[in-house]
Amino acid sequence: MATPVNNEDLVGMLCEMIKARISSERLWALQRQGRIGTIAPINGQEATTVGATWALDPEHDWVLPQYREPMALGRYGPEILNRFAAWAIGHPLGGHIPEPIRVFPPQISLATQILHAVGVAWALKLRGEPGVALVFFGDGSSSEGDFYEAGNLAGVLEVPVIFLCSNNQWAISTPTSRQTAAAGFAAKAEAFGIPGVTVDGMDPVAVHEVVSAARDRALAGRGATLIEAVNYRLAAHTTADDPTRYVPPKELAEAQTRDPLVVFRRQLEDRGIWDRSMQSDAEVAGTQAIDEAWAWASNLPLQQTELFDHVFATPTERQRLQRDKLTAYLQDQQ
């Protein structure tokens, strides 16, 4: 049975959400300073990501993120944020999350990771390992063929996978009403022969509860679950986007009143387990986490000839020739 959250979990989840928000805003600022490339903020989706991963066992369970979630995967250790900062800078080590951390790198080609999760879950089942694969994707990704192929395949194979649709209402500028005419995204589970659940994605406790139940079900050999976590994208799609062109201000203002960092904090204060000093400690810790990740990532050495590394386990003759030529060219230029 799923373990219900205790006070320590509640506090832990809020700390993690604060860290994610601070990281998101720091990375935004770094992009504006021209120090990193395009970045997609997580503002508004922290509760979904943190609540879901809090229900997992990092030793056995896999997480396959899209491209926002890595800044809220502190449950899997500080290395994820280090690598995400490197990924944002454009260092090849950003995609390398070291063994034995069971987290995939950010995924840009939308919905492809949903099929990978089915494969990972299938491997867990074949090897008799006690774990699940949880995959994050968005409302937009649910329109991709891979979503349907993955849901269908998971239903047939009965593998321990959790499909988590983090519905932030917007696929860049396209609202959910233009993604589907279905009665919500969880309704699509019907076609896969798996359970579909809708949950308030702004409430980490609610997300934790449904993911825990899905995980129990998966570990009991009863297969996949599709969860739609309804949240709201409180920031732009990415640093390259201008949401004022399409997000109705009233709708955004309403969503801001449900900001999980405000609402959940108030809930914990009401329970008497959170106060102003804890808030400021959490903010200091969050700032320190992204500072450390940034320091690590921005000091990584890199040779231009690493361009050729890890295409294959052993480079082909042609790659070796190209690398030698490039090396000579680069030396000439110096």
Partner: protein, 332 residues
């Protein structure tokens, strides 16, 4: 059963035996695809595997190519050795985002964390009057995907040796099986463990006057042409590339240095194709050993045609002979 050092097998039998041997050797090897289990595959390449290895390791998949390859990526990351089948290479268009966009770049984008030791088997090539998209030769497109190895056996023995190598390779391999070769190619296959390393071309026919460079079923066509020229006292060699990625550059250079005259065969669309790649390779590495401009014999810049036109589209011995004659006569 009598003990033998080798047996005569069709290419499809050699493939079937190799899959059995590799599945018996390593229980992480799993075979899956459309109609591979109960029916044993539309060409019977996986016939009987279900009975021996059971339904966990020989799996009929829902009809969805992206699901087959996308799941393969996850299986590989999860520690398995997937050997998925694309029922026909042309169907892999419906999985190109998983093949080119994901599987081929997984090791690279994770800077070495996740190996994709996946062997994708796919029949391809013309000559058997199939419906649309069953015969397309897409090897040039596939070779243009960085991070994917492209393997093209032309004999039953190489089908065994290269498939064994593919399954043991830590990187993704597209293993292309010629439709016409499944039963049309037959030959001696060594018993027991037999591996053919990638990137080592084979002289199917040694020659001094001209070299035909070919792969897969076109090696058969080239060999027939070489025999006819031999009857006239002209020594035409046939270099079977065996693998397009990695490419055996040294053997191509050797062929140019030995014969000075080159004809390259392919069944594919010529523009941007692999024959063009071979000729560019010759230009880079052996231009001054040429005695005549190299010529390619290809399909045409059209989609693969319907049955009544395909014998004109696919290079045959007559078209190849004409090209060989032209290159033999060419003088500076």
């Amino acid at each position: 059963m009598i003990e033998r050092d080798e047996q005569t097998l069709t290419m499809v039998a050699a493939i079937n035996q190799t899959l059995r041997a590799e599945m018996a050797r390593d229980d992480r090897v799993i075979v899956f695809g459309e109609d591979v289990a109960l029916s044993g595959g539309v060409f019977r390449a996986t016939d009987g595997l279900l009975d021996v290895f059971g339904e966990d390791r020989v799996v009929d998949m829902p009809l969805a190519e992206a699901a087959i390859l996308g799941a393969a990526a996850g299986l590989a990351a999860g520690g398995m050795i997937p050997v998925p089948e694309m029922q026909f290479l042309g169907f892999s268009y419906q999985a190109m985002h998983q093949l080119a966009g994901q599987i081929a770049r997984f090791r690279y984008r994770t800077f070495g964390r996740f190996s994709m030791g996946i062997t994708i088997r796919a029949p391809f090539g013309g000559g058997v009057r199939t419906p649309e998209l069953h015969s397309d030769s897409l090897e040039g497109q596939m070779a243009n995907i960085a991070g994917l190895k492209v393997v093209t056996p032309a004999t039953a023995a190489d089908a065994k040796g290269l498939l064994t190598e593919a399954i043991r390779d830590p990187d993704p391999v597209l293993f292309l099986e010629p439709l016409r070769g499944y039963r049309g190619i037959k030959g001696p296959v060594p018993d027991g463990e037999y591996r053919v390393p990638f990137g080592q071309a084979r002289w199917a026919v040694p020659g001094d006057d001209l070299t035909i460079i070919a792969w897969s079923y076109q090696v058969e066509v080239a060999t027939r042409v070489a025999r006819r020229f031999a009857e006239q006292g002209v020594s035409v060699g046939v270099l079977d590339l065996r693998t397009l990625v990695p490419l055996d550059i040294a053997s191509i250079v050797d062929a140019v240095e030995r014969t000075g005259r080159i004809v390259v065969l392919e069944e594919a669309v010529p523009t941007g194709g692999f024959a063009a790649e071979i000729i560019a390779t010759i230009n880079e590495h052996a231009f001054y050993s040429l005695e005549a401009p190299p010529v390619r014999v290809s399909g045409f810049d059209t989609p693969y045609p319907v049955g009544l036109l395909e014998d004109t589209y696919v290079p045959d011995a007559r078209r190849v002979e004409a090209a060989v004659t032209t290159v033999l006569r060419a003088a500076p």
